[in-house]
């Protein structure tokens, strides 16, 4: 494996590289074909009224709606509202979760006391709390409340588990030098848990987005969740689908962003 770059160096190698390239192209072609076929079928079925375009919308209509809303500027508004809420909720959940995980790691007693509570909080469907949050936190904060509630327990659990899974020998090593607990945390536990931290981000960004959308379902002035609910209320499936489409874009983009961060960190860390 110590061999280097890509230029083929023998007939066998050239053949191999050709085969790999052809394989990649086939995959890309299949992916594109699936997408195009699905869209075309959808469009056709709606045109021919095999399905009711009124119920299922139609790619061309979604596109029109997208263009119209984009040109009117309110698509941008709804998107940025949701995005901003998501990023704030994400940051808040991360800070709170990290702090709590450090506290649990620090105090064994605390972590043992908290354990059953965490299990229960982790397993319960936070979504059910939506209506209650709304009452307790109000229309502005309930979106963030929902976003944090839905993501923070996972963050705590993942980080704390990560902290505890740090190779005890790294800690033993620091102890042979006489390290304090704070030094152990700073020099071994936190840096060693960086990959865990990032995989918790990966889970959380998605959960936060769910929380924000649900929060917007309950109460909102704007945002993609608002658009979906409002679109449903006035039965504008085009609008709903457009919002869902943007939402898919956002969620995929956020996920890929965190994944890119993850792989760059992992590449550096080996």
């Amino acid at each position: 494996m110590s061999e280097s770059p890509a230029a083929a160096r023998s007939p066998e190698h050239a053949a191999f590289i050709r085969r790999v390239r052809r394989g990649k192209l086939a995959v890309l072609a299949a992916q594109a074909a699936i997408l195009v076929a699905a869209l075309a079928l959808w469009e056709l079925a709606a045109d021919r009224h095999w399905i009711d375009p009124f119920l299922t919308s139609q790619p061309s209509r979604i596109w029109e709606t997208l263009v119209r809303m984009a040109s009117q500027g309110n698509l941008w508004l709804h998107t940025t509202v949701t995005l901003r809420e998501t990023l704030i909720g994400f940051a808040a959940g991360l800070v709170v979760g990290f702090g709590a995980a450090v506290a649990l790691w620090w105090s064994d007693f605390l972590s043992r006391v908290a354990d059953p509570y965490l299990v229960i909080l982790n397993s319960m469907p936070k979504i059910a709390l939506g209506p209650i949050f709304y009452i307790w936190l109000g229309d502005r904060l309930s979106v963030y409340g929902m976003a944090v509630a839905i993501s923070v327990i996972v963050t705590i659990t993942m980080l704390y588990t990560g902290f505890r899974e740090v190779d005890p020998n790294l800690i033993k090593l620091l102890r042979t030098f006489g390290a304090t607990r704070a030094q152990v945390l700073r020099k071994a536990v936190i840096p060693a848990s960086l990959p865990t931290l990032i995989s918790s981000l990966k889970v959380n960004i998605g959960l936060t987005l769910v929380g924000v959308i649900v929060g917007e379902f309950i109460s909102s002035k704007a945002g993609l969740g608002y658009l979906i609910i409002y679109g449903g209320q006035v039965f504008r499936l085009d609008m709903v689908m457009t919002a869902v489409f943007i939402l898919i874009l956002i969620s995929a983009a956020l996920y890929l962003l965190v994944s890119a961060l993850e792989s760059s960190v992992l590449r550096w860390r080996g």
Binding site: M1, E3, S4, P5, A6, R9, S10, E12, H13, F16, I17, V20
Partner: protein, 264 residues
């Protein structure tokens, strides 16, 4: 020689990946007699495991031919048993179920073949552990179970890839002795790959030293033990004069490659 069990003729293996290509073996020729015990040593990454995979039919040669009992190798065959570096027992099967795995896969599991496999367990002191799970066994016992799993399908040729490297020093010495005995009694043709020169000397009839990658045969030593019949490994080690002489010879042979060839 018509008692040649296994032969490699001018074999070359080239691995291709996107990053580049690796010549693992090139122009390697080797013949092993029926019932012979051959050890292969060589620097890290010189293609020892590749050599075994060729014989096992898991890797096709890029050039040259591999013959087992005169037949070209085209894929995994019942004639050849391959024991990997670690035991790879299936932890959800008990010892008895692990031992018959090969028979099961080959669709040859019958009352008779099962009895034969369990008979091997008895014969090699593991009958009390038939219903134990692998994790309840010591490393040495696990390795013996893995050997019996390989023997259960009754191969004519046995390939061992560093079978003792995961064991601690003392267990290793004991197990070398035992497994050597088992193979001799079952009279298998064996190729043992190892990093441990003393292990090679202690167990084999012949030690093959490979060059660094791409591997080919560099030298070979027929190991002459004091008395006519081959002596058991531990006994050989104690006949220190001869043992040390071989050790020294092979050590020098390999020394060129040592330095930073760490595998960690």
């Amino acid at each position: 020689m018509n008692d040649t069990k296994l032969e490699l003729r001018d074999v070359g293996v080239k691995y291709v990946t996107l990053q580049g290509e690796t010549d693992a073996l090139s122009d390697l020729s080797l013949a092993v007699r029926d019932g012979e015990f051959v050890a292969v040593v060589g620097p890290s990454g010189c293609g020892k495991s590749t050599l075994l995979s060729l014989v096992a039919g898991l890797v096709r040669p890029t050039s040259g031919t591999v013959l087992v009992a005169g037949q070209p190798v085209t894929g995994p065959s019942r004639r050849v048993g391959y024991m990997l570096q670690e035991d790879y027992l299936f932890k959800w099967r008990d010892v008895a179920a692990n031992v018959v795995l090969g028979l099961e896969v080959q669709g040859r599991l019958s009352a008779a073949s099962r009895a034969r496999a369990l008979g091997l367990l008895d014969k090699y002191g593991l009958s009390d552990f038939k219903h134990h799970l692998p994790r309840q066994l010591s490393g040495g016992m696990r390795q013996r179970v893995a050997l019996i799993r390989t023997l259960a399908v009754d191969p004519e040729v046995l390939l061992l890839d560093e079978p003792f490297s995961a064991l601690d020093y003392q267990t290793r010495l004991t197990l070398q002795d035992e497994i050597w005995g088992i193979l001799r009694r079952e009279s298998k043709t064996t190729i043992l790959v190892t990093h441990d020169i003393s292990e090679a000397i202690a167990m084999a009839d012949r030690v093959i030293v490979l060059t660094k990658r791409p591997g080919r045969v560099k030298t070979e030593y027929a190991i002459e033990t004091g008395n006519g019949a081959a002596a058991a490994p531990l006994r050989r080690r104690r006949e220190s004069a001869q043992f040390a002489r071989y050790f020294d010879l092979i050590w020098k042979e390999l020394e060129a490659h040592v330095g930073e060839s760490g595998r960690g």
